[in-house]
């Protein structure tokens, strides 16, 4: 297989004494839909910031599309084809949905009318067509998540880094969002998503990495990582895996974990 679209090797970042990300290496194959999971404070968002140039790693390299992009400014990373979204949504509040998304479309489109038209079709893809002329500030949380996604998608990325696009949504909204994300991946965009909503990742991603306290502790298919004792411990606390195992042994039907 050719080189992965995004490859991290030995990436580390510390803030003062806090080692937010330590020696992380991973490779995202082109055309895949993958996930990055981990408990709160594991360093997932920091890792995204390191990939997309918002932070410069203390050590290690980030390669994207066969090119070293370590510490490349975010707008240049976006130009190279890697666009991220934000966990805490960051709309251009004073502008309409259409104008928000057009800013992304302008990356490859100089003309205003063409960018606005591109924004419209992207909004249709993520289910925002009805809200094109609404000010971004008037959107619901679910609407803002879609806007965040649409704006990033409008840059026509090769790799989309989605930071918790499902967090804060109710079950119905999540159910509506899943096909959107799946559709984007089906259209050939490589997607790497940070997710807290485990069930969602399990449904979407073919491969997941688990980050805990700044280190990768497991990777594999969703089924593999959820049965990994280290992952269970990272999420539920030390000793939990053993207890769960003991209980599963006592009650023959092995249900209820995670």
């Amino acid at each position: 297989m050719a080189e992965a679209l995004l490859a991290l090797s030995g990436v580390s970042k510390a803030f003062g004494g806090l080692k937010a990300v330590q020696d992380v290496s991973l490779a995202v194959p082109e055309g895949s839909l993958t996930g990055l999971i981990g408990p709160n404070g594991a360093g997932k968002t920091t890792l995204f910031a390191l990939m997309s140039g918002f932070l410069r790693p203390d050590a290690g390299t980030v390669r994207f599309g066969g090119r070293d992009v370590t510490g490349l400014a975010p707008h240049l990373a976006a130009r190279a084809g890697m666009t991220r979204t934000f966990q805490i949504v960051q709309p251009f509040a004073a502008q309409t949905v259409r104008e928000n998304v057009a800013v992304g479309a302008h990356l490859h489109e100089r003309r205003r009318t063409a960018a606005l038209a591109a924004a419209e079709s992207v909004c249709a893809r993520v289910g925002l067509a009805a809200q094109l002329d609404k000010p971004a500030a008037d959107l619901t949380v679910a609407g803002r998540k879609r806007l965040e996604l649409a704006r990033a998608l409008a840059t026509r990325p090769r790799l989309l880094l989605l930071d918790e696009v499902l967090a804060g949504l109710n079950p119905q909204e999540i159910a509506e969002m899943l096909p959107v994300v799946r559709g984007i991946a089906a259209d050939g965009v490589t997607v790497l998503m940070i997710e807290h909503v485990m069930q969602a990742v399990m449904n979407l991603a073919a491969h997941v990495w688990v980050l805990a306290q700044g280190r990768l502790i497991a990777e594999g298919t969703p089924a593999e990582v959820t049965s990994d004792a280290r992952v269970v411990e990272a999420y539920l606390g030390h000793g939990t895996a053993a207890r769960l195992l003991a209980r599963a042994g006592a009650a023959p039907a092995g249900q209820g974990a995670a």
């Binding site: 997309s52 918002f54 400014a73 975010p74 707008h75 976006a78 130009r79 666009t83 991220r84 979204t85 934000f86 960051q90 709309p91 251009f92 509040a93 004073a94 502008q95 104008e99 057009a102 800013v103 992304g104 302008h106 990356l107 489109e109 100089r110 003309r111 205003r112 960018a115 704006r151 990033a152 409008a154 840059t155």
Partner: protein, 326 residues
């Protein structure tokens, strides 16, 4: 397209008004209002559309004014040739200050303080070096004639400043429907989000401060042509900086017509209070200040923004009425 029609209609109306007016008082009022509008418009390009609040726009104004004056006094240049130099010099100072502050990510009050400090530095420099005439200032010799950009009647000056104002309107309208303008407003609203979708905030803000500086330089050159005199306090003192930003904020930041509206409202208010309460010194300023506070309190989006909110409310009322009918 609608903007172009509006700008053309505005220009035609002012030309007609200028032709019709005979009173020197009213022509001077019109000239000073348009001049105030030009200051506010150029501040609006950077502050309103770019969200970079400068407290020292006199820096660019003074640069334009001094270049216009020195080119004529020191080098005998024709003022029409000096004008592009004045604009370019002010734009270059904009590029210099912008490069320094935006390179190091100065924002908000830090950027405001840096511009304020630069204006002050330039004022002190203008006091200390020889070619500015120091504290005595520079006097441009009187040579009346359109070829020397010195007009016998106020009408010529009104048309000249109208030309600048229309150019600023055109640039502002372009900002509203161009990639550069979209990027500038994106940086204003959320710099990180803009960077994530490929906007270079440094280049974008730099472009805005160069444009803004250029128009401010034109205003400085215009000032010199009208008053034929400039000194360090006039050129780089805080008065011009404040006038530019207050009119833009009162009129509506980030709007096309706001700076014009703001300049008109402020000049009308200032003249009115001066005429009504001129015999009680200070009272006019008290009233002027009170009205300013009231505007900022009750129309925080500015006069143009307030108009827009009224229009939005009207439209949504009509829409819901339409829904009931249908």
């Amino acid at each position: 397209m609608r903007d172009a029609v509006g700008i053309a209609a505005f220009a035609a109306a002012i030309v007609a008004l200028t032709a019709w007016l005979e009173s020197g008082v009213w022509l001077t009022f019109l000239m000073m209002t348009l001049y105030g509008a030009l200051l506010a418009q150029s501040w609006n390009l950077l502050g309103g559309f770019g969200g970079q609040f400068s407290f020292g726009h006199a820096l660019f104004f003074g640069t334009g004014a001094y270049v216009q004056a020195i080119a004529q006094v020191g080098h005998g240049a024709n003022p029409w040739l000096a004008l592009p130099l004045a604009v370019l010099a002010a734009a270059a100072v904009g590029a210099f200050v912008g490069a320094l502050s935006f390179r190091y990510g100065l924002k908000g009050s830090y950027f405001a303080l840096v511009t304020l400090a630069f204006a002050e530095v330039f004022r002190i420099l203008a006091l200390s070096v020889g070619f500015t005439g120091g504290g005595v200032g520079l006097m441009v010799p009187l040579r009346e004639g359109a070829a020397n950009m010195q007009f016998g009647s106020r009408k010529g000056y009104v048309l000249l400043v109208l030309g600048f104002v229309v150019a600023a309107l055109a640039v502002t309208a372009w900002l509203r429907r161009s990639r550069f303008g979209a990027r500038l407003q994106a940086v204003r609203d959320n710099e990180d989000a803009a960077r994530a979708v490929g906007v270079d905030p440094f280049a974008t803000k730099l472009g805005a401060i160069v444009l803004s500086g250029g128009f401010m330089g034109a205003a400085g050159a215009f000032y010199v042509q009208v008053f034929q005199y400039v000194d360090p306090a006039i050129a780089f003192g805080p008065h011009t900086s404040v006038e530019a930003l207050v009119a833009a904020i009162v009129g509506g930041m980030g709007t096309l017509w706001g700076p014009l509206l703001g300049a008109f409202a402020l000049h009308a208010l200032a003249d009115l209070t001066r005429n009504l309460f001129g015999q009680l010194p200070g009272l006019n300023m008290v009233i002027y200040g009170t009205v300013l506070v009231l505007i900022v309190m009750f129309v925080p989006r500015g006069l143009a923004g307030g108009g827009a909110s009224v229009r939005d409310a009207w439209r949504s009322a009509r829409r819901s009425a339409g829904h009931r009918d249908g």
